[in-house]
Symmetry: C2
DNA sequence: GTCCTAAGTAAGCGACACTCACTTCAAGTC
DNA sequence: GACTTGAAGTGAGTGTCGCTTACTTAGGAC
């Protein structure tokens, strides 16, 4: 019977890789991107502190795996959000932005990780590719909105501006920098304002 | 002879606090915000690894001192940039944005430090105050441009949008995320585009 | 000169990243 | 069913780090 007995503490873990990623995700979320340790992740998974190194070359590699998985989720969120509005509408663009901010807010540790990982990770084609995929969602919505191709430089320029604005808003929000304002910023009006102003004409 | 001989290694350093901050600034710049160690900073200053703790409570406090000094510099840069253009002009606003990006680009380690320091630093009124001062520069220029008071909610909203855009652009630039674009983004056109579009009407 | 105190030291603790030699065990191969 | 193999684990060890403690130095006030 090759079916694994439910609760026998097997010598071989069987699913360590996935469980380590989950543990790191939790740790990063609760203690920040550098508040996590490989040792603690191993402890949570119930293995020795040397075990993770059978699955990940080193600490940065493990972090990168978490970031990679997060970027997949981010793209999914944006696509789902866009799909709930008419293609080419301002609302679709705004919804993508809202999904981005929501992603940052509900997982600011991981969000910070994804965008703070560039120190020793210049050579990460996988992450770069996923970044491209994420921007692709914005680009497509922008293109549909102004009625041009995504290859059009004007479309790229506008999509990039929208990205920077939403990205900046996300970071300043999770950094609590928004309290320099005397009036609160409402996500929805923010998104509609920038969409309208950047995509106008 | 109380005059200190030029190269005598004095027991009392005399200027350790400042020198530590400088060393940390260098380390953060070359190895990233968490690629620095108190021990290494002490080594560079030529003192024992325990000496820094006579001047700074712990590692985060030391980092905060570096961030604080950097925020002063950032505000100075923005003010100088703004002063070189007519008060109330779009160019003044764009120049402030350019100064912000330049600051990020020439010191991306410290820039990342300033805006990634919010993990255990919620209770840092000094940093919060300096952040307010920095935003004040943007707010004043925006107010002058639209001809209203800085207390006006509309002005605050627009200034905030400008800030988020420039902030996002800065981060995405130093993170090398801009190569998802097939056409390069020119800082100057970027700044003028957002200034025009956000401050129009 | 004497005391006080800020500013340094050396030594040590626990935690960490990572390595190395070893062990376990599931899955072939015969 | 015994034999081999190799992926996935262990435990002990190294060097570094953050930080503390007890001690030392030296400059200034009196």
């Amino acid at each position: 019977m090759p079916a694994n007995a439910p609760s026998r503490p097997a010598y071989h873990h069987g699913d360590l890789r996935k469980q380590l990623i989950a543990a790191v995700r939790d740790l990063v979320e609760s203690h920040g991107p550098d508040g996590f340790s490989v040792a603690e992740a191993a402890r949570r998974a119930g293995v020795s502190s040397a075990a993770p190194y059978k699955h990940f070359k080193d600490r940065p590699t493990l972090l990168r795996a978490v970031a990679s998985e997060a970027m997949d989720r981010l793209r999914d969120c944006m696509e789902v959000a866009a799909a709930q509005h008419p293609r080419g509408s301002l609302e679709a663009v705004a919804a993508i932005g809202q999904a981005y901010v929501d992603f940052a807010r509900t997982g600011h540790g991981v969000f910070r990780l994804v965008f703070g990982l560039t120190e020793g990770h210049e050579d990460a084609p996988e992450l770069k590719e996923k970044g491209r995929a994420c921007f692709g969602v914005v680009l497509q919505a922008t293109a549909a909105c102004v009625g041009k191709s995504g290859f059009d430089p004007d479309v790229q320029h506008r999509a990039y501006i929208l990205w920077t604005a939403v990205h900046g808003h996300s970071f300043l929000t999770i950094d609590h920098k928004t309290d320099v304002l005397s009036t609160l910023v409402d996500d929805n009006t923010y998104m509609m304002t920038i969409s309208r102003r950047i995509l106008a004409e």
